[in-house]
Symmetry: C2
Subunit: 147 residues, 2 copies
């Protein structure tokens, strides 16, 4: 049963939103989508705000573009996180372990999925997106084991 | 004292190269540089090989470009990993904890360092690079806590 719980902790800027969908796989997908989608929205806002500060003018058009980019990046970053955390969780359950091979395959599928969200998806872009996604996820997995 | 140790495990395609520089911070930087630099090299090779397969021809020029890109990406990816793992390790030691704030600051510094490697670094690119680096590192830290 979908339930929503909001943990707001004002000691530190740390807001934990948790939606319980009743299945661990779904929970991870939704959790990744919400959290990383929020990071994507903040990223777009920060980039566009810096653009306004640098140009020293805020027009109606630049504010419209800011809102547009914020929504688009929130969905794209959230999609990446949802697909990646869902895929790696499913592979972890199936293989019984989590290693860089899970990260490689999850990243490749995530990269392919992200390239499908572009306005004009071509088959070669999907493959290059899959290669890059797999490489980035493997690199992140190696870094995670170092730090 | 710098020492090198090579662990090759042929049960699975897993090669662990460890160079002991005598200090944990330096070890992390070198470890990240070597491992993630290798991932960057494999990524460039895979992308260029796919390009050759797609165009159905391998010229002398395309092989030269492949070698060039492999070296460049190995250094860039290695630099990112080295700076990021060094920064997050130093902050973890200083603050006594590892959380998304370390990831945010480490990612921002890494993004700024990466934008300095471009052929024509401009101050606004360094700042947008820092914003994007911080956002990506924060998103990866959130994903790490989910999976």
């Amino acid at each position: 049963m979908p339930r929503a719980r909001v943990n707001a902790n004002f000691d530190s800027p740390n807001v934990d939103v948790m939606v319980d969908m009743g299945h661990p796989l779904l929970n991870r997908v939704v959790d990744g989508f919400l959290k990383v989608g929020g990071v994507g929205a903040v990223h777009a806002l920060a980039q566009e705000t810096y653009g306004v500060v640098r140009r020293e003018e805020a027009t109606k058009r630049s504010l419209e573009l800011m809102a547009q980019r914020t929504g688009k990046e929130a969905v794209q970053w959230g999609l990446v996180a949802g697909v990646y955390s869902g895929m790696t969780y499913a592979m972890q359950e199936a293989r019984g372990t989590h290693d860089w091979k899970n990260a490689l395959l999850g990243g490749a599928l995530t990269g392919a999925a992200l390239s499908l969200t572009e306005s004009n998806p071509r088959s070669d872009r999907i493959i290059t997106g899959a290669i890059t996604g797999g490489a980035i996820a493997t690199a992140a997995e190696f870094l995670r084991n170092i730090t």
